[in-house]
Structure formats: structure tokens, C-alpha cells
Symmetry: C2
Subunit: 383 residues, 2 copies
């Protein structure tokens, strides 16, 4: 009942591939988009709705759950699956990203990282061993090594030192990891420096993790650089292991990085947009706050079969959003996740059918990408 | 396809009765508890959830919908039922309660009431004719006459003048009312003065409305006075017409006023409590914010079969509430409405079975009532 990744089909014209991850809580067809449930809940949705949406994998945040409600409480309640009533596969990150981005950082050294809680200012020391202990208590199916996340931009020197520490931490995480049923992923870092990325991919591959995450990208660097780093990293990672591009992405990113060989995506974009009244449609984004929707009887998207589109007009959603009614952001969240999950299902099917390139071209011809969400600092992950 | 009220059974030991209201959008078994959907949504819930909860009647607010999104927009979108995707029966109040309690009141005279919008300060004149016009555009199954709501306490003189105006307005509402498929209810006022209540019940009965609401009670007066006013009013209203006690009530109120002959209740109490983390159980109320629930693996109530109780622990709900996650208040709302709707179904069944008195005694023996929600000004209706 451990973790296994099976490749099912490769696209002949790109690095895209379709596979299946077998986990103790069920199969995850890849490529997969994982909705983010930072605090053991995908904001505004119930597990039943996530199941109906066809979510195959959820991402939860170790940092947040460690601070509240605490890993011991989650363990006492039977682990994260039972706690949040989600029987499907879950992954947790190591907490590194949040510790290093919430400005709560106090001190990093080889032992670990000392930080202050954003909730009450209390001091906590996260070591690689602690990150594993907490994640073992939470009990997700996929867990992550503790990594040092560098600011962007960072100097080569800084990036190299951080990377070496991340590598030493990866070895300690591997040793500390005791629960075979949880698959521990290594995280490739190295910033925007090709030689560091290459070193990281090679070093972590030598530790033979069951899967690899790529961290520290899509944090403000130019998209061409992100692509270059992903291409380089993927080319050095083993073919038979799943690859997770952390904190990515938008609809256009799914196509871009699936084509570059990524299997797992997680991103707060669709849920965060939804809470701001923005919905994803085939032509791009609509903001339902806009007055032009006040009397629009059409659904968000005509042929969408999500609950929101089957029952409600843009006018009603506009009203709910203006009136700050919770149902408004529930319905936009539902729609946006449906959009992403459905898009990923169609991408996977197109790989299986050998029509990925055509589907990609077709989608991107009508979808007007917006890059504004990248302009914020670390906008794409739940910090 | 008009409105019809059929009495099915009378309790031999009280004024309690079971009946059915036939409306263009389906049958409403009475006595009935109507969840409040102030802004065309029962806060945090979807129509699908309300259907699954067995809600038979929803209450929406004319004042709020008139101001936002506006009755013309709702009409353009096909009316309130289609707008909010609720195919079942809906009632709207006249807007009087909100106009007279939101401190936005500018001037009342025989013509109508001039008030300021709480949203943008704009001035609006509501006349009886306007209240009917707006409610006809909204298209609810049960609608209400415009009434003047007096502050509590009010002098006899004030109350009498307001009542006389309410009566003149009732006549004008009746004349203005054109849509036969909407049942127009009269509203009995008169404050805490028995002779005014009696006059009001008699006058409105002479206008032969298809149903009667009792307004202006449970707004801070002693409970003994509320009961006295309800008893007096009910004794003077026709047996074959449904009676609605507006803005009531709590679980204990349902028993109390069903026994006094009330058929329809609406109250924000269960949904408002839920948003504050308080849940209704057979012994009274629990506040899930309390630290003692932080690691409590039990559901809100052991044998409750609502979605929240079937899947989640008090510990998880405590976590969601502390973390201000929307799912927390969704689940407490779901539970509290299930509690009220289920309680009302059991009350009705006990009337049919001839066991109402025993059921009432049994329930109240273990339920510890709390009256604190009455201490606020007009806490029980969506102002």
C-alpha cells in the first residue's frame, strides 16, 4: 500500500506525459492540479463538493497546521484525512516556503530555522527532523523535505549556500522519515542559476526520492527564466518519478509546464481569484464585480456543467458579490476549481489520445492570459 | 394555482394545529419554520443544501432586495425564484420592519414613509402601493402589507396612531394588489396594548386576507406580554387562515407559539448563532469557540444526521472557526437549520400523532433555553 508512480503515455512532441500515482488513499491520475487547502480546508468548499469536482489530490500546509490546530491535535483526531473528512490523497509541503516568506524569520543555521508565529509571535524551531515529525503526525500521502527558500532576487553566493543547506536538510529528512506509507519528495532549489539547479537535481536524484518537487520558481522572475529552469531541472530528474512544480499555476501555465514534463501542480490562483469575484472562462477572466454583469442573465460560461453555471446567472453572482454574501464566493470558487480540474482532465485525455499539441494550440488561441497575478510578491502560494 | 390553506389536525389540548399551505411553488406543511434569506440567499448556504435540509419556505427581505439589486433587475431575471434558483415557496416581508428599524427613517405620514438607504444614503419613498409593486416584481408566493413598526416601548397614543395608519395602508395594499397567484397577508400590530391588538385583529380580519402575520412582538418586551398578545390576537383571527409570528423564534419559542396557534415562523436566530460559532443541541447551546472543544472528537450532536455531524468533529469545527474559515460557519449554519427544521417536523408529526404535549414536555425537560439573544435591539429579524 505504499507509493507508486506508473507512466501510462508519453506525448511524442513534447515532454508531456500521462501517469498514475498510487497512494494509500487512492489513485491520482497525472498530470494533476491540486487545490490548496492551507488550513485543512479548501477555502469555502466542503469535501463533498471537492469530490464532486473530481479533485484527485489536495495540498495542505504544514506551517499553518503546525501552528493551528497543532500536529498533535490532528494526530489525536485521527490524522489529516479524518480531521478534514477527505478520504482522497493529500500532500503537505514542509512549511519551508511559509517560514521563509512570512517575514517571521528569525535565524537560519545548519540546525534549522527559528521563526515567529504569525498568529501570536511565539518562537519555534523547525529542523528537518521536526518538519518530518510534524508531517508524519499530519499523515498526508505525499510529504516534502524542509528546504530553504531564498528571496528573489538572491545573489549567487547566497543561493549556493542556501542550496547546500537544503541538500544537507534533505539527507536528514530522508533519515528522519519513518512512515513508509508516506512518500517523501525532495525539493530542487537553486534559484535562477542553471549550474545550481543542475547540482540540485543531480544531488537529490542521487538520494532516490519517490518524487521531486521544483521549488523557488514563479516568484517574480521572468517567465522565460522559469521555463529555462524547469527545462533544465526536468531533463536531469529521473523519468520514472513524478515532478511537482510548486505554486504553479494559471490555465496557460498548465499547458506550458505539462509540455515541459511536470506532473503535479498546486496553486491558490483559482480560489484566490474567485474570492475577488474573478472567474475563469475559455476566453480568459471575467470580473463579476463589473457593473455590466448586474443584469446579465447568462451563466458564467454557457456550456460549463458546474453547479454554479447550471443554476445561477452572472447577475445573481454579481449581486451576491456586491452584497458580500458568502454564497457568491462559494460559487465562484466552485466554478474556478471546476475550470482548472476539468482543463487538467482534458489535457490528460489529449495526451492519451495523442492530441495534446492540437488541444494546447486550440485552447491558447482563445484564452487571453493575464500575468498580473505574478506582480505581487509570492502571489501564487498560500503564504 | 392560487393560495390555499388546509387544516389537517388540531391538537386537543392546545391551539396547536397541523395544516398545509398550497402555493404556486409547492406545498408547505405547517407549522413551518422559514429560514431567512435576507438578500436572496440564506447566508452561506446553497439552494441545494436548503432543499436537502427540507426547507419548505424561505423568507426574503423586500427592503434589502429593493435597494440591491433592485426589484426591476430581479423581475428582468425572471423573479426571485429563478434569480436565487429556489423553486420552492418564498415569502417576502413588506420592508416596513427594516425601514422602521434601520435608523434610516426620515418621515412618516399617511402617504407613506420616506427613508434613506443604508447603502448609499439615497432617499426613497415607500408607499403601500410601492411595497406591493416591489413585491409583485419580486414574485414571492406570500407577500405582506406595508406596516408601521413602532419602537418598543411606545406610548399608547403613538401606537394607536401608527396602528390606524397601518390599517389604512392595509386597505390600500389590498387594492393595489393585482397578482392573484401571490397571497397577500395582513399584519396585526398594536404593540403591547390589548385593545389595540384586538382592534387590529378584528379590522384586518374584516378585510379577509388569505393569511395573517403578527408583527411588533418579541422586540424586547417581557415574554409574558408576548404570550398575552399572541393569545389575544390568535383568538380573534379566523381559524381557517394561517398565522405568522414574525421574527420568532428559538427552539423553545417554536413549542410555545405552536401551542398558541401559530403556523409560520421565521427567524435569523439559528443562522446568526451559527456565524458566531454557537450550535443548537438537545440540551441547549454549545459555543464551539470554547477551548474545551479543541480536541473533542465527537460530532456536534451524536445522533444528528446533518452533513456536519455525519462527517466532522467538534475539534475540526473549532479549528475552522478559530481560523476564520468559511467552511466553519457553513457547517454550523447547516447544523442549526437542520436542528430547527427537524424540530419543526417532529412537532408537526407529534400534532398529527396526538402526542404534542408529551413531546413538548420531553424536549423542554432537557433543553436549557437562553434568552440572551432577546437582549439586543430587534435581534431576531434581519434588519
Amino acid at each position: 500500500m505504499g507509493f507508486e508512480f506508473v507512466l501510462v503515455k508519453r506525448d511524442p512532441h513534447s515532454r508531456a506525459r500521462a501517469g498514475v500515482m498510487h497512494t494509500p488513499h487512492g489513485e491520482v491520475p497525472t498530470p494533476v492540479f491540486a487545490p490548496v487547502g492551507t488550513q485543512a480546508t479548501v477555502k469555502s468548499l466542503s469535501p463533498r463538493e471537492l469530490e464532486e469536482l473530481g479533485a484527485a489530490l489536495l495540498m495542505a500546509n504544514t506551517y499553518h497546521l503546525y501552528l493551528r490546530p497543532g500536529a498533535d491535535i490532528v494526530a489525536k483526531l485521527g490524522g489529516l484525512h479524518r480531521f478534514m473528512a477527505w478520504d482522497g490523497p493529500i500532500m503537505t509541503d514542509s512549511g519551508g516556503f511559509q517560514i521563509f516568506s512570512l517575514e517571521a524569520l528569525r535565524r537560519v543555521n545548519d540546525e534549522g530555522v527559528l521563526f515567529r508565529s504569525h498568529l501570536d509571535g511565539s518562537e519555534h524551531l523547525f529542523t528537518p527532523e521536526k518538519a518530518i515529525e510534524v508531517q508524519e503526525k499530519l499523515g498526508a500521502d505525499l510529504i516534502m523535505c524542509l528546504d530553504e527558500c531564498t528571496p528573489n532576487p538572491a545573489s549567487y553566493e547566497y543561493e549556493r549556500e542556501a542550496l547546500e543547506r537544503t541538500h544537507r536538510w534533505a539527507e536528514r529528512c530522508r533519515r528522519a522519515h519513518t512512515k513508509e506509507e508516506q512518500a517523501l519528495f525532495g525539493i530542487v532549489q537553486g534559484g535562477i542559476f542553471p549550474d545550481l539547479r543542475a547540482r540540485s537535481a543531480e544531488f537529490l536524484t542521487s538520494l532516490d526520492f519517490p518524487g521531486y518537487a521544483i521549488g523557488g520558481l514563479s516568484v517574480g522572475e521572468p517567465k522565460a527564466v522559469t521555463r529555462q529552469m524547469v527545462d533544465l531541472t526536468v531533463s536531469l530528474l529521473p523519468e520514472d518519478k513524478p515532478r511537482h512544480l510548486m505554486g504553479v499555476g494559471s490555465p496557460e501555465d498548465l499547458f506550458d509546464y505539462v509540455a515541459r514534463g511536470i506532473d503535479i501542480f498546486d496553486c491558490v490562483l483559482p480560489t484566490r481569484l474567485a474570492r475577488n469575484g474573478a472567474v475563469l472562462v475559455r476566453t480568459g477572466r471575467l470580473n463579476l464585480r463589473n457593473a455590466r454583469f448586474a443584469d446579465d442573465p447568462a451563466p458564467i460560461e454557457e456550456d460549463c456543467d458546474c453547479y454554479a453555471c447550471r443554476h445561477f446567472s452572472r447577475a445573481y453572482l454579481h449581486h451576491l458579490i456586491k452584497a458580500r454574501e458568502i454564497l457568491g464566493l462559494r460559487l465562484t470558487t466552485l466554478h474556478n476549481l471546476h475550470f482548472m480540474l476539468n482543463l487538467m482532465r482534458r489535457i490528460r485525455q489529449s495526451i492519451l489520445d495523442g492530441t495534446f499539441a492540437a488541444f494546447k494550440e486550440d485552447f491558447l488561441a482563445s484564452y487571453k492570459a493575464r500575468e498580473d497575478y505574478r506582480m505581487q510578491r509570492h502571489p501564487h502560494r498560500a503564504a
